[in-house]
Symmetry: C2
Amino acid sequence: MTEFIPPGSRFHALSSPLPMKRGGTLHGARIAYETWGSLDAARGNAILVLTGLSPDAHAASHQADPSAGWWEAMLGPGKAIDTDRWFVVCVNSLGSCKGSTGPASPHPDDGRPWRLRFPDLSVEDVADTAAQVVRALGIGQLACVIGNSMGGMSALAFLLRHPGLARNHVNISGAARALPFSIAIRSLQREAIRLDPDWNGGDYDEDTYPESGMRMARKLGVITYRSALEWDGRFGRVRLDSDRRDDEDPFGLEFEVESYLEGHARRFVRRFDPNSYLYLSRSMDWFDIGESVGGDTDAGLARIRVEKALAIGVETDILFPLQQQRQIADGLRAGGADASFLPLPSPQGHDAFLVDIARFGPAVAEFLQTI
Amino acid sequence: MTEFIPPGSRFHALSSPLPMKRGGTLHGARIAYETWGSLDAARGNAILVLTGLSPDAHAASHQADPSAGWWEAMLGPGKAIDTDRWFVVCVNSLGSCKGSTGPASPHPDDGRPWRLRFPDLSVEDVADTAAQVVRALGIGQLACVIGNSMGGMSALAFLLRHPGLARNHVNISGAARALPFSIAIRSLQREAIRLDPDWNGGDYDEDTYPESGMRMARKLGVITYRSALEWDGRFGRVRLDSDRRDDEDPFGLEFEVESYLEGHARRFVRRFDPNSYLYLSRSMDWFDIGESVGGDTDAGLARIRVEKALAIGVETDILFPLQQQRQIADGLRAGGADASFLPLPSPQGHDAFLVDIARFGPAVAEFLQTI
């Protein structure tokens, strides 16, 4: 299975052997990352960005890769995360297929993909390997760690497991633990992939990629990443033009919203490794910042030490609902942080941080100006 | 494909040939229905119940079938829909597989199932054939038509297309048109069924029933029928006991919520005809009460004539959100009805009318006492 590595990637060789939290060991593993801006003499201006499930480390364009990144509008000179001031590092999660070691990477013993031989992946492993990258860059303390979605989980694990490594924190549409609605959605996405005969117990290749399973999983994802409110205004009941419909298919695409989902799915499949999707997805289900304190999530949050924190959520988010960001702010405050909760009325649901830059830009910029 | 016909069913032979709204014709078709209570001398105490996508006509127990029905807690002597006072008729929708003619029924020409030869099914066909049953029972005017979920759509079509046939109306978690979020969910459910190799273009039998596609469709349904709020309290992050887990399956069931979905799916598959599911599901996407007035849904509602109406919705319903029941009440009021909108804080989402009898019972009972 091909990995999908952005051309401007840099790589950090992880300590080897690398024991994984839930058992198993990696040898010769690596993390892909990209950076923007310059580390100042005091090494005090560094920001770490941790991503959602699917993005790579290419958050924004830079000299080595001038293509637009997934957070292009937020990150760059003069933007909300201003690279004239900050040295920004974005890492590709361990277990992904975008340059970091994951199930699609070659196993050191035989050079064949790890596939399901890859050890259980946890959010904590993602956090710990990101911390290795930070330290390898000579950063003793980050000014801030910013995490979006799954990255909001990774960021909390990072802060809890590496006290002192970050001074401040922005958590965007994140969660301190997985709740049953999102577990149910992700379980169904994984089932769709596993039911595809081409998945074949994880043993597929370019020619037998489980495309229909991945299409289903991605469509279900997109449905939960956006919001009914946005779609009412955007699609309503608009039909496809007849030349975009297949009249031979009695249950084929008819409404614009169906075509939108199909387009999203087509752009995703064959650009992401299905096994990697399974591992990353399940790591989110397992995550609870309170795991080490008997499943008391609030107590887990209160054990985190940061100076200032901002938890941003979106009213229309059904996957990481607003009370989860409120819980993060309350929990960090209980731990002594100067923590704020900012609910935003964006109509775009969980994905709003990618598109509603008019609201997210000023919120993040203002926070960063105070640290 | 077997049909699943409750033993207490009665049958009405539909007019033949029966032209369908979107083209095509049925011959020798029938509607299954059940009744409770007695029609009074003036034939003025009749109530029609129209169902959601999957239920049969067995809403409650009666002499010919003492098994509990799907609305057992609401319907019976002394209950909210009090069969000591009312003569209640519940019909199984045209296109279903529970006794009414649908894709699993024998085609009159060759005795083999209609399958995809069944003509396009619309909510209006469901309404019109229910009206035939009402008239055949000698009822000139219903005291009330009650519709739940898809039945709320059918009820609006019934009222618009058969003016004078019902005096009052209760719409429960219904909608005057399908909106893109619910279209997207249903489209994905249909895709799951169609992707199952056993679906085979609709040509399956008992031995090759598309079980995995139906399981996926049902699980996605259940996710959208309930609410995240309910599940947080009900399941939280509780794991299955080790004896209920398959350690050989690396991505098998682990959380209670996954097992709950699996149980729901197992009880549903092989009890519902997949082609029937496709037809009924798509009919909902097509529905807009404003279709005949240029897609102006409010204007369509305002063309309905009833005396009193009650539209009940649930705050946690993501599939038929609350604003859709508010729209129904507002639209019927614009048409001259004494129409109320009742939002309920039930945690159970779209399915609340099946389980939150403590709230739905009194609401429906009080309305029926005023008519």
